[in-house]
Symmetry: C2
Subunit: 292 residues, 2 copies
């Protein structure tokens, strides 16, 4: 029989929600994954959501991370400035309701360029805490908004958000390339050709139009167009990192996308390292242990 839950961890994103009942030793004893992301929940409906989670998992404290703490979520947990450690996050949680804490995101506020993250930080620091990634490392978190994150001695020091996944999704659904990008996306000749083109291009908004021109001029097979375009986008993304040569890149949370980024990192001379799943719950557990 599963052990008793000590608290409920919630990874509460824009469109999805993952909730975990966690024992005091960090063991996940029960999980729930659904589409109750912040876009589908009215602000005054969160207390009922918490009650439902406690009915399911037990009347335990809740720790939530992600967009639930944004201006579009339940209640705003102001960003912690980089460099950000687990301890600083733990000390800056917002109590949204009795025994419900929301973990803040991380901001680059005053530097050359602004950037923000919310949810990714706990995954990175969780991997470091769990020992599945070094304390000083370069991370890549592929997804709708890919994050390149640098850590030094267990602190997030700088990061860059790249809208690679969103661009692919917008282009596939709307605009001139819609209907041309419905084929499969996986590693193979078309993906690699797109990757090399994206790395060399320096002009994403022009290189993507080559997908249409290539189809019209029979230089690109219709079934290969999606993989090629994905290669162009991921290639342009990794090519803006001129510091990958000879360096491990820790890939985190990207599912099947991580395999494509691994190919791209290798192409740029880096060494991809796929970090095992479980980093987010490891991070939340470290945070709970600090605050418990």
């Amino acid at each position: 029989m599963a052990g008793r839950a000590a608290y409920i961890a919630v990874d509460w994103g824009t469109t999805n929600r993952r909730a975990y009942a966690v024992a005091s030793d960090g063991t996940v004893v029960d999980t729930l994954t659904d589409g109750r992301g912040v876009l589908s929940i009215a602000r005054d409906a969160y207390p009922a959501e918490i009650s439902a989670l406690r009915t399911r998992f037990g009347a335990e404290p809740v720790i939530a991370v992600g967009m639930v703490g944004s201006s579009r979520g339940w209640c705003e947990a102001p960003y912690v400035d980089a460099p950000a450690t687990l301890e600083r996050l733990a000390g800056s949680c917002r109590e949204a309701a009795p025994d419900v804490r929301i973990v803040p995101g991380v901001a680059l506020r005053d530097g050359r360029r602004p950037d923000v993250m919310r949810g990714e930080e706990i995954q990175i620091l969780g991997a470091i805490h769990a020992g599945t990634a070094p304390a000083t490392a370069l991370f890549c978190q592929p997804g709708t908004h890919n994050k390149w994150v640098e850590t030094v001695d267990g602190a997030i020091t700088t990061f860059t958000t790249v809208m690679t996944g969103e661009f692919f999704s917008l282009l596939r659904t709307h605009g001139i390339l819609a209907g041309m990008l419905d084929g499969p996306v996986s590693d193979g000749a078309a993906f690699r050709r797109g990757l090399r083109r994206g790395i060399a291009s320096g002009n994403l908004a022009a290189t993507l139009f080559e997908v249409r021109a290539g189809l019209l001029l029979d230089r690109l097979e219709p079934a290969a167009a999606a993989a090629y375009a994905s290669g162009v986008l991921i290639g342009a993304d990794v090519a803006t990192r001129d510091d990958l040569g000879g360096r491990p890149v820790h890939l985190l949370g990207g599912g099947a996308l991580s395999a494509l980024y691994a190919v791209a990192v290798t192409e740029m001379g880096g060494t991809p390292v796929i970090v095992p799943d479980g980093a987010t719950t490891a991070g939340i557990h470290a945070l709970w242990s600090l605050n418990a």
Copy 2:
């Protein structure tokens, strides 16, 4: 009273249509602008459209340019390969119906990268024919798909399509920046700041996320976000031309957008030259004169 029409010129695009009744000396004697672009017309409805134009303008020959000659239009007029002159376009028209000719587009078929245009070529060659631009020049045609076009001695030799306008439209309507880019877009401090950022960035998909981060961290005014994002996109577009220094750039057909591109060209060291309206009808008239 207006002179008698010798033929009907139609600039038949994806969403819009402009039709002109033109006298034998090239004078436009009547015009019609409507939303009867190729997306709104079934393939078998074109003969009726032609009849309606002739009812309006007189039973004259028709010369049509643009997407009407694409695979999504009425009947495909295969691309002419670059280098493309007016004479080659005139010799490659497709007769879609009695006395209805469709002008082909231009393709880069076999070079390092594929590209296509359909409609822009007649505007460029028309400006040259009319003497409002030199025969050897660099052109920029801002719009949904901006074209950078090089001509040598009156022939289109090479060109690049950049999806700058489409990116702006997609981002404004869908995705994470939707709702943040509804402010005015015009030259001013925010546009220029975005322009400089776009020129310096080298990573469009990251720099555009700074719009969101800048708003969240109070580094960007909500009312300035659209102009800033437009600056980023146009800056990234012009920055991929490293050959603008000291060079005239002939801006064509971009309407209000041309003024923003003129600022960007100047920022890159080039000399913007706004080409007067009327280039498309001048090009069609030159073509009619060759074939008449």
